[in-house]
């Protein structure tokens, strides 16, 4: 299905947010997930489904001034 991930349209087979993180090859430990402008805690990732058209942001804290 098509979703928006970090500002780009991509194809994904992920069923849940956790699936998406793994599908993208990302390290979950430092990630923040926002789905349709709502923050989803890491504990809930395996329970929150990914739906077509979802706007998803995968973020992390980085060095900055």
């Amino acid at each position: 299905m098509e979703i928006h991930l970090n500002g780009k349209k991509i194809e994904s087979k992920a069923g849940t947010i956790m699936d998406l993180v793994l599908e993208q090859g990302l390290d979950h430990s430092s990630l923040i997930a926002e789905v349709n402008f709502k923050l989803i805690s890491q504990e809930s990732w395996k329970d929150v489904p990914v739906r077509p058209g979802d706007i998803i942001e995968l973020l992390s804290f980085v060095g900055g001034g």
Partner: protein, 260 residues
């Protein structure tokens, strides 16, 4: 060393015993952050929030900052008040605490902040209980507006971010310190310990230094040097700097010379 009275800086509900704030950007290695913090005694550090980049190293900057240090997430990347507010809310919900540095920039050459959007973001976020530290272009009217908007401090720039040009904005910073009802934190462009000392001598409540420490050949030593400068400058401000005079005034007696 004489017994010094406690001279902490209170922001939000935290008392900082160091008036040197630091940033996590541009370190050659994040492993240097811990030792730098230990050497400098800095107790507040900025971080940024970004979309993950698959190519980037998988490390969480927060792992390098000890719990005794207050996190100051910034809203870098925001071009409008709305974008800044969104970043702030995400940072807080993600467990970064109540402090937020508002950074709203559309000038890509000098990275000068947009005071108007900064005031708007401050108003919204202060109402939501954030401890707002707005990065601003030195301007008395904007400083007043930030106070009215509920900021916890004002953070006028010394000179453009990363430029190491020191206190280019010195005259206006002085005026802000004179009129401000909020602590004034000079943030951006401080390149040398002497410039940090100068800001503190002027009456700044604190300074925020990132580039000059992070990109130094020896960031640990640089952190120590800046902390000593901040202490010296603050002490000078407290004891009261002596006046500059037009003419010379001899330091040794003008009588009893061994001559004639």
């Amino acid at each position: 060393m004489p017994d010094m009275e406690k001279d902490g800086l209170i922001l939000g509900n935290i008392e900082f015993d160091s008036r040197l704030f630091t940033g996590t950007g541009k370190f050659a290695s994040h492993e240097l952050i811990g030792p730098m913090l230990k050497a400098s005694g800095s107790r507040l550090m900025t971080v940024a929030l970004r979309r993950v980049d698959k190519g980037a190293p998988k490390e969480n900057i927060l792992n390098y900052i000890p719990p005794s240090v207050t996190l100051l997430p910034n809203t870098s990347g925001a071009r409008t008040a709305e974008e800044a507010v969104r970043i702030a809310r995400i940072a807080r919900e993600a467990g970064c605490g109540e402090f937020i540095k508002i950074e709203v920039i559309t000038d890509m050459k000098y990275l000068l902040p947009d005071n108007h959007e900064t005031v708007r973001a401050t108003e919204i976020l202060a109402k939501e209980g954030f401890v707002v530290l707005p990065y601003m272009m030195p301007d008395i009217t904007a400083a007043r507006q930030l106070y009215d908007a509920g900021a916890a401090a004002v953070m006028p720039l010394g000179s453009p971010i990363g430029s190491n040009r020191g206190l280019e904005m010195k005259p206006m910073i002085k005026r802000i310190i004179e009129m401000s009802k909020l602590p004034v934190v000079v943030d951006a462009g401080i390149g040398r310990p002497s410039e940090a000392a100068e800001a503190m001598e002027m009456g700044a409540a604190a300074v925020l230094v990132n580039t000059a420490i992070a990109t130094a050949n020896d960031p640990v030593r640089a952190g120590l040097a800046f902390s000593l400068a901040v202490k010296a400058g603050r002490m000078a401000f407290l004891y009261g700097l002596t006046d500059r005079k037009k003419n010379a005034e001899a330091s040794s007696p003008l009588t009893g010379f061994l001559r004639g």
